[in-house]
Symmetry: C2
Subunit: 199 residues, 2 copies
């Protein structure tokens, strides 16, 4: 409907998650009318994220450096590793201020329908990390949905023979929901109530 | 919460209309994980809109050229001018395929609370256009809300002495809707505007 550049922008915006055609149009017109400097900052922010942000070489959390700020932080407890699906989950847990250990981001969950098996996740790297004698506990904090539970069960079985304490976040998280959307109190409770699932 | 570049992007996205903090975070992580080429295309689309898209010098619709595609189209009826608030309204009317005249985009509506009076809108330019002898009818298609009605009333009074035909879009029941769910004002307008259908 629109001329070239405006329609191009509407098309690109419409491909973003949660942006429908009406929202894409509204945002495109906002871009058109807004301060040029603000919009160039937005365009640059997109470029910068793609250019500069990588994954931490230890835990696979997002990071602008070789290792993320949590892995670099000497005050974090080296005895605990919390296994999550995504970097978003790290931030959700950090907001609860309940956990002082380190993380391991799997990069997703086991989902046979989508063709994602254990080999597509950072499980091998987790096993390598767990060979470090400092580590005492692995907390399985995958999402409380079908794929997250399957992933936790898989990891619990695999880690059963290691002699490590392997725990799972307590129920209290609404089943079927996404970890990142849980409120801080619920997520904090879930941390406190984590149970032994292997051994 | 996040490191530099990711947080910068979340902040910039959160300033867009209709994008809350959760959506901004979800989109930022999508940018992070998505194909780099796709994301560079999005960044470029934003830049291109700011660099290339201007307003038509005749009707103030969005345009990449000096005049917009509608004003350049020789097949459009020069006798009718449809006055709207925004370029988005031009597209909404174009989708109906009902109107074959030209447009005039005011750039908003009269809103004393927001400090927008007739001088902040492209009303002077409209009056200049209307001096052209080709024009026979001015259709006031501002929004059917308080500000849009005030703007239409202002224009109707101003154009009363020109001898031009000045019309306003009909108010009434939305097609496909239920009469019982219509608000009182709309239903009242539908009554006032009732038309003879027999004989």
């Amino acid at each position: 409907m629109y001329e070239g550049a405006v329609q191009d922008l509407i098309d690109e915006l419409g491909r973003l998650p949660g942006i429908g055609p009406k929202s894409a149009q509204r945002i495109a017109f906002h871009v058109l009318e807004a301060d040029a400097e603000d919009m160039m900052r937005l365009a640059d922010a997109i470029r910068t994220v793609k250019d500069k942000v990588k994954h931490c070489s230890i835990c696979f959390n997002v990071s602008e450096q070789e290792t993320c700020s949590i892995c670099r932080d000497e005050r974090r407890d080296r005895a605990q590793i919390c296994v999550v699906e995504e970097s978003k989950d790290v931030m959700a847990i950090e907001r609860t201020r309940t956990f002082r250990g380190r993380y391991h981001v799997l990069g997703g969950s086991i989902n046979p329908i989508a063709g994602i098996g254990p080999d597509q996740l950072h499980i091998r790297e987790l096993l390598t990390r767990l060979q470090n004698a400092e580590i005492e506990e692995v907390i399985l904090a995958t999402d409380p949905n079908l794929e997250g539970e399957a992933t936790a069960t898989y990891l619990a079985r695999m880690l059963g023979s290691t002699g490590l304490k392997v725990t799972r976040l307590a129920s209290g998280l609404p089943v079927g929901g996404d970890l990142e959307y849980a409120d801080e109190v619920t997520l904090g409770r879930a941390f406190e109530g984590r149970r032994n699932v292997a051994g």
